[in-house]
Each structure stands twice: as structure tokens, then as C-alpha cells.
Symmetry: C2
Subunit: 201 residues, 2 copies
């Protein structure tokens, strides 16, 4: 590897980025060298600091460089509402809607016994503790609408219902026709579901 | 800016990469944090070293971290042949064909008087010196087939022809139908050119 030039090493290392192959990596390397060395140095420092310092929030397991993430530390957020998601990217997606003011809990995956991912790996003990220690009244299970996501949702739901002396409402994200979606191109399972769950006008 | 989290800073700085917008940057950041922190640290180090150490070859002006690039320093390369290209990426493209064994000279641009890019900016003095100091017999002008590229080619050609006591052949890359190209979809200027320059079988 020592015989490779710095440029070749840079092109190789850029390929660790998702969706970046050899051609794009080459284009990126030349473009940075030509036009944006300052931006590249800045990226280098951000990458190093982020990889070294970003860990998980003690409470919700979201990515953060401090002990408590900004959402958990924010006393204005409603701690009667808890939204359970599979990944930190899901939090970003929900925050972008600006229509949720509760707290979160990140599973960092979903139940997948075949891959050795059980309740402990997705932090269900910690979730249990979190619910016991907060005045949580509603748990919104926002796992993906896949087989694993549904299984995980079901498992969490039965776990939460077993908590004694507490009445906690369990909810799940609504499923149906996406906004702007054309019926013609919608898969039949989603269409059947939205027909079954139709709402009165 | 100090109030931004490290993750937000990372997502912003990833957008200095060409073709990477907010969504891709977010996906990259999460993917690196989730699955490839080692690769990201490696990328960080490569970026820093490359931006700090990569300069231009003293002889051909290609990107290199040493004084003479590997091609200029290679005594097996034919120094009777000199190929003039606009950018280091063009060298990579020609090297990938494995059908050229001569040396290179990189203009790092093309003549563009309106943008203040004249003969000095594209290193024509240095090119002149290079030709005088080497046994160069053929100069292949491989600038782009654009108006600026053609102007630059013409300017270099007349400059080289003014060199005294030397017979230097000037050539230009062949133009015509690309391999796999369908005539139906080829632009008419290229088609007219390949008709005018037809070869006997």
C-alpha cells in the first residue's frame, strides 16, 4: 500500500462513502484538489471529531457528542409522549415534519433473531426503565412497515402492556395512500389497507 | 455556528463534495457513524494529508506529493512523445487506455481571455522550456473538443512551430463516431466531420 500515491489513497478512501464508486471518488478528489482544499480540510476535521466524539444519548440512544441529546435535555418537549424509532435518521425525518413535540427512543435496529439481535441488543431494558422513570402516557411505535419492524412493534407493545399500575396508550403510525400518490401505481397491500381503514369525511 | 451539533457540522461539511446535497450528506453521515467509523477516520487522514501535501509536478504540472510525478520520473516512458492535456483527470483517462507511453504536460485549464486566463496561467512558458530541454519529436494536443479547447490547441500549435532548429510533429486526437455510438443519435457536426475524414478500408 505504501507505493500508492496520496491521490490514489484519497480516491480509495473516498469509496467508503455510500453510493460512491471509483469514478465518483476520482471526480471528488480532483474537484477538491482543484477548487476546494479549504472545504476538504474542514471535512477532514469534522469527520475526525464526529467519529471520535459522537456516541449515544444516555436516555434515548440518539447520536450525540454530549451525555444527553438536545431533545432529551429540552424541558419544553412533552415527556408524556414517547416515539420509538429504529434509527437516528428516523428522528431527523420526524423532526423535519415539525409536528411532533414529544421525546424519542432509538432502537438502533430491529428484532432479528437470525442475526442474533434480540431484545437486549435493541435496548428494551433501557426502554422499560425510561417508561418507568417518566410520566409517559402514550407510546408511538414508529418502526418500519416491514416484517421485522412489525414484529418489533408487536414485541414492544406487549412488553409495555405488561408494565403494572400504569395506563399507557400504544399507537402506531397511520398507514395508507401517501400524499401525491397515484392509486394506479400503489401496491395492492397498501391499497387494501387504506380501503379497510377508510375514514368518514 | 458553535450551537450546531457535531452531526450537523458533519452533514454540512460533507456537502463540499461534488454531487452531494443535504439528503445524501445525511445518509453518508449516518452510514459512517453506524457502520464504518474506521473508514471515516481513514478518509479524514487521507483528506488532510492529500490537501496539505499534494502539489504540482515540477515538470508536467500533474498532481503529486513529490517533486517529480511517477510518469515524469519514469525513465521507461518515451520522452520523444509529449501529450498536452487540460487537467490531471485527463491524464488518468489516457493512462486507463494503456495505449500511450509518452510524457504529459497539464495546462490546468484552457485559454479564456475573458476570465483572465492567458498563456502564462496555463504554463506555456514552462511548456516551451520543457520542449527545449527534452528530445521531444511529437506533441499530441489533447485539449477538449470545445471552442476554448480548440483555441488553446491552435495557440499551442503556433507557439511550438515557432521553436527554431527543431522539427516537431503536431498532432491532435482523432475525432469521429465513438465506439458503440449509433449514427441516429450522433450530433450532425460530429457526423459531418467523420464523413469528411473518412478512411479507406
Amino acid at each position: 500500500m505504501e507505493s500508492k500515491t496520496l491521490l490514489q489513497q484519497l480516491i480509495n478512501s473516498l469509496q467508503c462513502l455510500p453510493g460512491v464508486g471509483k469514478k465518483s471518488a476520482q471526480r471528488m478528489a480532483y474537484q477538491l484538489l482543484d477548487k476546494d482544499r479549504q472545504g476538504a480540510l474542514n471535512l477532514s476535521h469534522c469527520l475526525e471529531r464526529a467519529m471520535r466524539d459522537i456516541g449515544n444519548c444516555q436516555q434515548c440512544r440518539d447520536y450525540t457528542e454530549v451525555a444527553l441529546c438536545s431533545i432529551c435535555a429540552n424541558s419544553k418537549r412533552d415527556d408524556k409522549l414517547l416515539c420509538i424509532v429504529e434509527s437516528p435518521a428516523d428522528i431527523a425525518a420526524i423532526e423535519a415534519t415539525a409536528s411532533y413535540s414529544g421525546k424519542y427512543f432509538v432502537l438502533m435496529g430491529h428484532l432479528s433473531p437470525l442475526d442474533g439481535i434480540g431484545p437486549e441488543e435493541i435496548g428494551l431494558d433501557q426502554l422499560n426503565q425510561l417508561i418507568l422513570s417518566t410520566p409517559c402516557e402514550e407510546v408511538i411505535i414508529a418502526t418500519s412497515s416491514t416484517v421485522e419492524g412489525e414484529t418489533t412493534a408487536h414485541f414492544i407493545s406487549s412488553m409495555v402492556q405488561r408494565i403494572e399500575n400504569r395506563t399507557i396508550t400504544m399507537t402506531r403510525l397511520a398507514q395508507g395512500v401517501p400524499i401525491g400518490g397515484e392509486l394506479e401505481y400503489l401496491d395492492s397491500s397498501t391499497l387494501a389497507l387504506s380501503l379497510a381503514n377508510r375514514k368518514s369525511l
